[in-house]
Every structure is written in structure tokens, then in C-alpha cells.
Symmetry: C2
Subunit: 260 residues, 2 copies
């Protein structure tokens, strides 16, 4: 490990000045994106280029390039004469506890589910194995387009163990989370879910359903849920519009001996 | 709540048959993507279209369309005569504890950091406020392109409180995580980090750095880290290649009274 020349980089003030404008623009854009997420701009109006330039210590050309990056992500609109405005509200989905989408989004608005498909299918082995079902057992497959206050938010593909799924799809699925229905049907609470998150470009069909441009970034999740007694009940594949959702959590540093 | 006609959907076997091929292809692709992530295919060789068709109960045309979706995501290669192979290994980044990238990726390979910029800057107010620094205080800004076994994985923009950052950038940053260095310099462990995840399309500059196609999906994270005593130390903006990384966590169902 080298500890030579402490503070030497601090004495080279030209280091940052020599950077490419694209690097500086991205540096600015990353900060502003999170300010947008956090609702830092009153009424969604961003300061003008001159003010932003002073705030970030950057040229107006750099600020303009940063705003262009955010416009390209679909986060802001630039209206000549009126300035720059936030175009889409982005919702924070906490990853701290297992909750359904309607439960999670209640502070923001109402979730409605368009049921595109609901019925029994013979699942591929990888799905049957995870749900601990014997080969040949059917599962109940459910496909929903989920909207928040009428605007598409996600497409959810759901595989349910048959004895619960069969009862579940007879219920009103339009306004209720699957999670609450499972608990009602089983008479026991859910336990845990394993969640995997990925970033994936939208294909033409997903883009059309979600109202995204072709190739628009989606936050894709697999969520594998068990009942409190540990039995698998629900395997879901979720595609969220990347421009409408963030996932948030708090991590704790493990004790030194647990770090590997 | 409607509970009429229990099981009625189960009695309509034609419901799923009438779906569009694009829906069926996406249903297949979501399952196979996760099988790829989990390393389910020996030597990364996928079964042929006929076998996959039998496994999923879908036509070969549907299977072909599903594989085309995954090829479009950069996950598989289709070599005429040789079949379908996984093209990029995807790494699972656990979100259960606060760990640096090199600590996390140790089972997969070695992380090297290309330091693109390191030095003091005057931060925008939103950054200074979160690091609890007075207006006018400098921060240490660090920009790193991070590679796993030589292949780009992420670009990290890091803002450090000055008293720690000044010492930190005098160290060897090429092969070490910032987290371990902070703990070494402060003589106390890190405490917690607030993490926000988003899916964002790569602009031309990010794409070039990360080796992604233009617009390729990136998993973008903000990570705001405090020392064990609660004082803010490190605010980071991370862009991961979407095709090389998943984020994983386990969620627990809250008690009923805590659900809102």
C-alpha cells in the first residue's frame, strides 16, 4: 500500500480543469437527477442555466449539456422562454420491507391493475422447482399491467401455487394487491421474499405497453415470495418504467469478521 | 370485493391460447434471463429451440422470438450450427450489507480502478448539505472507472468530506475500495448507507466508457454513507453496466400494524 505524498493531488488544481466537458456534464446531471427524485425543485422548476452554472462552478455550455442528458432520460422538459421543468414524477419504492405495489404507492395515488391474462398453465421446470411443485403440476399464471393514477408503471408476470392461485383469480384483481389476497386466502401472513433487480432495455412490445420509447430503460425485478411458514407461494417477474420509479434501501456495515 | 364464480378463470383454458406471441415470448424470456443469471445452463449452453419449446409448452416461433429478446439485451449469442450461448456473465451484488465493490466481487475476480479524476472541488449546495459541510467548504471529488478482470463494470463519482478525502486520495486507489481506506483513515468502521437504485439509458459518453451500446440500460445507484458515529462521509453516484450486474436482497413482511 502506498501512502507517499499525502495530499499531493490536492495541490494540483488543474487536474479537474482539464477534464472533458462530457465528464463534467455527467457529474452535474447525476446530482440534478437525484434532486429531481427528491423533489428539491419547487413546483418542478429548475433554476436557469446561469444560476446552475454558478451553483456547480461550471460553464453554461456544460450545464446545457447536463440538462440535455436529463432531457434524454425523459426527466425534464425544456420550454423556450419558460425554462426547464420536471416532466415525470418519480416514485420511491422502499426495499426495506415486503409490500405490494398498491400498499407501497398509497401515498402517491391509486394503483389499478389491468388483468391481461389469468389462468392455469403448465410451468417450465425452473418455475415448478422454485415453487416446490411436482413435475406436471399446473400453476396459476397472471399477467397484469399496473397503472398509477392511470399512467402505466409496471407489467407483472405472476406464477402462483395452484391451490392458492385458483382461489385468488376468482377475486377482484383490478384494485387489490396479490399479497393481501394471498394472506386472506391462506389465513397466514407472508414471510420473506428474495428480490433481484436488473436494468434492461425495453423491447418494442414492453415499450408499447408501458408507454416508453423503444429501448427505454426498465427496472426489472424478480420477486420470489414465501409464506410465514416458509412454503413458496408466488414467483413474479416485474418490469417497471425506469423513468417513474426508484428503489431505496438502507445498508448496514457488517462486523469486520463477517465481511467476506 | 367480488368473490363470485370461484375458479371460473380456471375453466377457460382458451384464455392463455389467445394471447399475442409477443406476450408469450416475453413470458419465456423473463424466465430464461433469470436462469442465465443463476448459472442454470451447464457451460453456458442453452437447450435448442425444440427442447425449449417442449419445456415451456410454446411454439418454436415463440421460443425464437424470446431468444431474440435476450440477444437484444446482450445476454446470449446465437451461433448458426453451434446453438445459443450465454455471452456475458452477470454478477450478483447483495444488497444485504454495506460492502465495497472489490469486497463484494472477490468471489468473481479482481477489481481494478482507473482513477480519472481526484482532487478538491467546491461542491454544489445539495452535495455540501448532505455531507453536512458549511457553504464554501471544499470536498474531495473522485472519479473512477472500475473493471472486473479487465472488463468495465461501473463508473463511480465520489464526493468525500475534505479531512478524510485529502488523506484518502494520497493512497493507492487502483486496487482498493474507498470504504476500507475510509475506515483505516478514521480508525472507526462505517455505519450505514442510504442506497437508491434506478434504471437509466446510457448516453454516448457513458456507453463509450462502459463498453455498452448507445442507450444500453445502466443500473444507476446513489449511495450516501455515514460513519458508525453517524457523521456523513461519502456521497457516491454509481453507473453499472446493466448486462453485467444484478442487485439482490431479501425482504421481510412487516407486522400488519406497520404496513402503512
Amino acid at each position: 500500500m502506498t501512502t507517499a505524498r499525502p495530499g499531493s493531488a490536492v495541490l494540483r488544481p488543474d487536474v479537474l480543469g482539464r477534464r472533458r466537458r462530457a465528464d463534467r456534464a455527467r457529474q452535474v446531471a447525476e446530482v440534478i437527477r437525484r434532486q429531481i427524485d427528491r423533489g428539491d425543485f419547487p413546483q418542478g422548476h429548475l433554476p436557469d442555466e446561469r444560476e446552475l452554472g454558478a451553483e456547480f462552478g461550471m460553464s453554461r455550455n456544460t450545464i446545457r449539456e447536463a440538462l440535455e442528458l436529463l432531457r434524454g432520460e425523459g426527466l425534464i422538459e425544456r420550454v423556450p422562454g419558460l425554462g426547464t421543468r420536471v416532466s415525470t414524477e418519480k416514485y420511491a419504492h422502499p426495499l426495506d420491507h415486503l409490500r405490494g405495489l398498491a400498499e407501497t404507492m398509497r401515498p402517491y395515488g391509486g394503483i389499478t391493475n389491468e388483468v391481461r391474462t389469468a389462468g392455469p398453465i403448465r410451468p417450465p421446470r425452473s418455475v415448478a422447482d422454485r415453487l416446490r411443485l411436482p413435475a406436471g403440476s399446473p400453476v396459476i399464471y397472471l399477467e397484469r399491467l399496473r397503472r398509477l393514477d392511470g399512467l402505466p408503471l409496471s407489467v407483472d408476470l405472476t406464477y402462483l401455487v395452484p391451490e392458492i392461485g385458483e382461489q385468488l383469480i376468482a377475486h377482484d384483481l383490478r384494485n387489490r394487491d396479490v399479497f393481501g389476497l394471498i394472506e386472506q386466502i391462506c389465513g397466514q401472513p407472508l414471510g420473506t421474499a428474495e428480490v433481484t433487480l436488473e436494468a434492461v432495455n425495453a423491447d418494442a412490445h414492453s415499450a408499447a405497453m408501458l408507454g416508453l420509447p423503444l429501448g427505454g430503460a426498465m427496472l426489472v425485478a424478480e420477486r420470489f415470495t414465501r409464506l410465514a411458514d416458509g412454503s413458496p407461494v408466488d414467483l413474479e417477474f416485474l418490469r417497471f418504467r425506469g423513468d417513474r420509479m426508484t428503489m431505496n434501501t438502507v445498508l448496514h456495515r457488517p462486523a469486520r469478521e463477517d465481511r467476506r
